[in-house]
């Protein structure tokens, strides 16, 4: 089913995030993939996806959300704001602080 696919794509994209990747090209590719996955979600499915993550997952998601804000495309900000609201509810302000203090960016 479509929902299941989106969720699987979501987890896969997070898992294959290039952690300490040096190459900017790799990072940009991962960002692009992540953005595609995030925008493919229906608003009603976001909360469930966020709740399926552990603490590190929420922090990583928050990093990608802010990366997405940096390079807005048509309609991307609207769906990202919804993701932001749900991620904030779970990760708290601490998850945003860690986006600001992170030395390894996504």
């Amino acid at each position: 089913r479509r929902t299941g696919e989106a969720l699987r794509a979501f987890h896969t994209a997070l898992r294959s995030s290039p952690g300490s990747a040096r190459s900017q090209a790799m990072k940009e590719q991962a960002q692009g993939t992540m953005l595609k996955v995030l925008t493919s979600f229906k608003s009603s499915e976001i909360e469930q996806a966020v709740n399926s993550l552990d603490r590190n997952g929420v922090d990583l998601l928050m990093k990608y959300i802010y990366k997405g804000f940096e390079k807005p495309s048509e309609n991307s900000s609207a769906i990202l704001l919804q993701w932001h609201e749900k991620a904030l509810a779970v990760g708290g302000l601490g998850s945003i602080i860690r986006v600001l203090t992170a030395r390894k960016t996504v």
Partner: protein, 369 residues
């Protein structure tokens, strides 16, 4: 909880005397003011004026009743009470940046000063010259030392720095003490030896604290994390990414429980589960009494919408006791193993005393191990 508003400006730092009848604090300037408890009031009894820069650290030695202060003027002074006057003695720290924190060692024969010079000055009294001298611990510190705490053996010193690391050094001074016996942090402790270094977190280490036994050290960083290194588990580090704004101060209240506070203006409980080597959040300790949630009239809703573009009924004012960030926590009674009262001071110029038993009965889900 007893809250007293001392100032309208931040309290930069504070220290209590042995019997907790007097508190020395810096009112965000170059001075140290000492207040004495007078029934329910606090009266100012001394003003210590010697520093040429903001006083960044104060520590009050309980047994010898001496104060040590340090400031942005790159100096430290040891103060002794002669009659009813506090007399300062200058200590040359040999640093070229501001001093940021100071702590007496448990035996009060040494004190350590952390500074922006990226080193720690360990100061001790040289009898022959009637003068305080200091030795430096430099390597491998790469940035300002923001916080210090001594191990109960009077030799090991934990330091938190702006280079994102927590380290434990040996501050063994052969002139004033015997060789220390082995500890879980190591056996060889020549001066300056690095016994432990954490891997990088991503935030300045604001505050650091040894447990009462000294076998654990905890620290809080600017990336909203709380970490704990356990020498009993081969120095394994447990860390917790909190949901809060960065914490600025932390202390143990039992071997397994910590209280930390910071930019959320509210002290919080954290618990360390030794068997799993994990830290968990135990709850906020400042739960305001629920004021009756009255509904907004239609007119008030419209005004909110007009003024704040929000129909949210949530209060814009802080419900916590402290109305600004808490910058320091000190244990008042019970020690770090059985704390029964602790004190917080903050940027709102206020000082609050928290009673652990009252907190346990007021907040039913609170579990202090």
């Amino acid at each position: 909880m007893a809250y007293h508003s001392f100032l309208l400006e931040p309290i930069s730092c504070h220290a209590w005397n042995k019997d907790r009848t007097q508190i020395a604090l810096c009112p965000n300037n170059h001075e140290v003011h000492i207040y004495r408890k007078d029934g329910a009031k606090w009266s100012k009894v001394h003003e210590l004026k010697e520093h040429n820069g903001q006083v960044t650290g104060i520590d009050w030695a309980p047994e010898s009743n001496r104060l040590v202060t340090c400031g942005t003027d790159r100096n430290a002074y040891v103060w002794t009470l002669k009659g009813n006057v506090w007399k300062p003695t200058l200590v040359i720290l040999r640093i070229n940046r501001a001093a940021r924190c100071v702590k007496w060692s448990p035996k009060e024969n040494k004190f350590a000063v952390g500074s922006g010079s990226r080193l720690i000055s360990i100061c001790y009294f040289e009898q022959e010259n009637d003068w305080w001298v200091c030795k430096h611990i430099k390597k491998p510190i790469r940035s300002t030392v923001l916080s210090l705490d001594w191990h109960p053996n009077n030799v090991l010193l934990a330091a938190g720095s702006c280079d994102f690391k927590c380290r434990i050094f040996s501050a063994y001074i052969k002139e004033v003490e015997e060789r220390p016996s082995p500890t879980p942090w190591g056996s060889k402790m020549p001066f300056g030896e690095l016994m432990f270094e954490s891997s990088s977190s991503c935030g300045w280490v604001h505050s650091i604290c040894f447990s009462a036994s000294g076998s654990r050290v905890a620290w809080v960083s600017h990336d909203s994390t709380l970490c704990l290194a356990d020498a009993g588990r081969k120095m394994a580090v447990a860390s917790l990414c909190t949901e809060t704004l960065p914490l600025l101060a932390v202390t143990f209240i039992t071997e397994n429980s910590l209280v930390a506070a910071g930019h959320d203006c509210c002290p919080m409980l954290f618990t360390y589960e030794e068997s799993q080597g994990a830290l968990s959040f135990g709850g906020k300790l400042d739960v305001p009494k629920q004021s009756s949630q009255r509904g907004l009239t239609a007119r008030e809703r419209f005004q909110n919408l007009d003024k704040k573009a929000s129909s949210d009924t949530a209060n814009a004012t802080l419900d916590t006791l402290h109305k600004n960030s808490i910058s320091q926590i000190s244990v008042l009674t019970g020690g770090k193993d059985k704390c029964s009262q602790f004190c917080t001071t903050g940027m709102d110029g206020g000082m609050s005393i928290w009673d652990v038993k009252s907190l346990e009965s007021a907040l039913k889900d609170l579990k202090i191990k």
